[in-house]
């Protein structure tokens, strides 16, 4: 156990130094705030432009739906990136992967440790984005005290699934060239489209809705929004189920996804070793 803890602590320290020590602390804090708030602003402006040209009375429920989804999506983008980029940056950038990989530690724990600082920063960013929305953009949020345990459990589950998916992507990126940005942009994009983050599943074609229902993040976003924006008029297509049922869906699909992710990682790792790609560099 102590080896795991030591690995985690060291990797977390390394991840934190890599993330933050390139600049002054105040600039790092500013950076950590500006990026997510600016990301939320893209959607705010899309909404404002649509309202300006088509629907002057506005649609606060649609806006809140989108805003809360987008705020929590910060977790998706940063946790996924924080996890899979460990392999790509250690391999292509710092070229230290071979030394870490052959050391007698759990590589999973190392990856999770390296991602820890990104998760910590993203908690801060999500909170800032939500507070900004409530204070300046009229987003309506409410979390009942009795819902707090459910909220915490679902958030923990959601983050676990994200870590598992990140590890799975890491396994895949063992085999591919340097695609940090393609992955960073594309994989979250997949969840952006199919998991009802910004718009309800009903907007998607039937096959798209089926894909969405197979991904645990869809249930995580749904339950989070139920707890934070109660009384929304937006038809989520999962409205027929109560919160515990959605949580059950989340648990079941998470377990399935977790197993699948570990399997894909293992396969990726196996083929990378077989092809001698563990420590390749592919810059272009």
């Amino acid at each position: 156990m102590s080896t795991y803890w030591r690995t985690f602590k060291t990797a977390a320290w390394l991840g934190w130094e890599m993330d933050s020590n390139w600049t002054e602390p105040w600039l790092f804090v500013l950076y950590s705030v500006i990026k997510p708030v600016a990301g939320a602003f893209i959607l705010v402006l899309m909404y404002i432009v649509f309202v300006a040209i088509g629907r002057p009375q506005g649609d606060p429920d649609a806006f809140s739906y989108m805003y809360v989804g987008n705020s929590f999506f910060i977790f998706v983008a940063s946790v996924l990136f924080g996890t899979f980029q460990v392999i790509q940056s250690d391999r292509e950038w710092y070229q230290t992967i071979r030394y870490v990989y052959i050391s007698p530690i759990s590589y999973y724990v190392y990856i999770l440790g390296r991602a820890a600082s990104k998760i910590a920063v993203s908690v801060f960013a999500v909170a800032i984005t939500l507070v900004f929305g409530v204070m300046f953009l009229g987003v309506r949020l409410h979390l009942a005290l009795t819902d707090v345990p459910l909220f915490l459990v679902s958030t923990a589950l959601g983050l676990s699934v994200l870590l598992a998916i990140g590890i799975c992507l890491g396994g895949i990126s063992f085999l591919t060239a340097k695609h940090t940005h393609g992955l960073a942009e594309g994989i979250p994009g997949l969840f952006y489209v199919f998991c009802g983050v910004l718009f309800p599943l009903s907007v998607l074609p039937n096959w798209g809705q089926a894909v969405g229902r197979a991904i645990p993040l869809t249930y995580w976003f749904d339950i989070t929004r139920r707890l934070l924006t109660e009384g929304s008029t937006v038809n989520t297509t999962l409205g027929g189920y109560d919160a515990p049922t959605i949580l059950l869906f989340l648990v079941v699909s998470s377990v399935g996804f977790f197993g699948l992710s570990v399997l894909i990682y293992k396969i990726g790792e196996y083929f990378a070793r077989k092809a001698g790609k563990i420590d390749m560099t592919t810059s272009y």
């Binding site: 600049t23 990301g39 899309m46 404002i48 002057p56 009375q57 591919t176 940005h181 393609g182 998607l204």
Partner: protein, 325 residues
């Protein structure tokens, strides 16, 4: 040197040297990237999903607006519809605006591909080259440094065109966007002027980043989202002028990125200047083309001088070859 051959320094030699350097540096991008099959999936297909999300948002807004117009009571703007004719008129307007916004997203997505390429494969590229040990070999070679950046830009444009084209094709065939191009020559002129200005800006950033290590990487990351919203990649930038107070200020700041003016002109040329009631455009196309040409020249000149100055500074501080900063 007494015995060694005197080397040529005439103009013809220099032009030839720098053209070869451009071809040489663009080669790894064009050939190397496409040589890796996974590239097509990661760099061309996956980013389409992000674009799709923005398309669906407008469809969602459109459906919500349509539901309100068809609701009980039927709402036409802020009042109850007076007649079926008014209701139909509002429905048609919502449809037209939604489609035009989706088309704007598709065009924006095309330009996003180039912007991301400028940020990640131009601006912060020299940092990357330093890390893998190429920068010192480049800086020791006799070619003009602008030729090096030019090669990166040409390679980047060609490489990114695939993603841009796949976005356009998906827009037309998957999302049913209809473009009406009345003046293809002007469209091409605007497109290439935008690209040259954009990559000129990238060259300038590349030189500014020469001194930096991970700061460069993080600054590029920081420039993604704010520029997405201030440059109107996913909505017509003119919409910002409808927001009193900070809206115009953000739009003006965003206009310094050539993609914003370029996109405005491209949207006018492909959607028709009467789209969105003709009220969301910043300038007319000719003026925007002139601005783009001006920006292209300005950024290229600035890049040239920044690079020369910062190369000297980097050599003085010993940062041209120090890795893992």
């Amino acid at each position: 040197m007494s015995v060694a051959t005197d080397r040529r320094t005439d103009l013809k030699y220099r032009v030839g040297l720098n053209l070869r350097a451009v071809v040489g540096r663009s080669y790894p991008r064009i050939v190397g990237a496409n040589r890796e099959p996974s590239w097509i999936f990661f760099e061309a297909f996956l980013p389409l999903l992000g674009i799709a999300a923005y398309v669906f948002i407008y469809q969602f807004f459109g459906l919500q607006a349509t539901a309100a117009i068809l609701g009980n009571p039927p709402m036409c703007g802020d009042h109850v519809c007076a007649s079926v004719a008014e209701q139909n008129q509002y429905l048609a307007a919502v449809n037209a605006n939604t489609n035009a916004l989706i088309a704007s997203v598709v065009l924006g997505g095309t330009m996003v591909a180039f912007w991301l390429n400028v940020l990640w494969s131009m601006a912060s590229q020299l940092y990357w080259e330093k890390e893998i040990g190429n920068l010192q070999l480049y800086m020791m070679a006799p070619m003009n440094r602008m030729a090096l950046l030019g090669g990166m830009a040409v390679g980047g444009m060609v490489m990114t065109s695939m993603r841009a084209v796949s976005t356009l094709v998906a827009g037309i065939f998957v999302f049913g966007v209809i473009f009406q191009v009345a003046n293809p020559l002007l469209l091409l002129a605007v497109f290439f002027a935008t690209l040259i200005a954009l990559y000129g800006l990238g060259m300038m950033f590349a030189s500014l980043y020469l001194l930096w290590g991970r700061e460069a990487w993080n600054l590029s990351a920081l420039m993604e989202e704010p520029i997405f919203f201030s440059s109107g990649f996913y909505f017509p930038l003119g919409g910002l002028f409808r927001i009193p107070g900070w809206g115009p200020a953000v739009a003006i700041a965003g206009s310094f990125i050539p993609a914003s003016i370029g996109l405005d002109a491209l949207r006018q040329l492909t959607l028709g200047s009467t789209a969105f009631g003709g009220s969301l455009w910043i300038f007319n196309v000719t003026t925007e083309l002139e601005i783009l040409v001006g920006m292209a020249v300005l950024f290229l000149i600035l890049a040239r001088y920044c690079l020369a100055y910062l190369e000297t500074l980097a050599k003085r501080e010993g940062k041209l070859t120090s890795r893992h900063q």
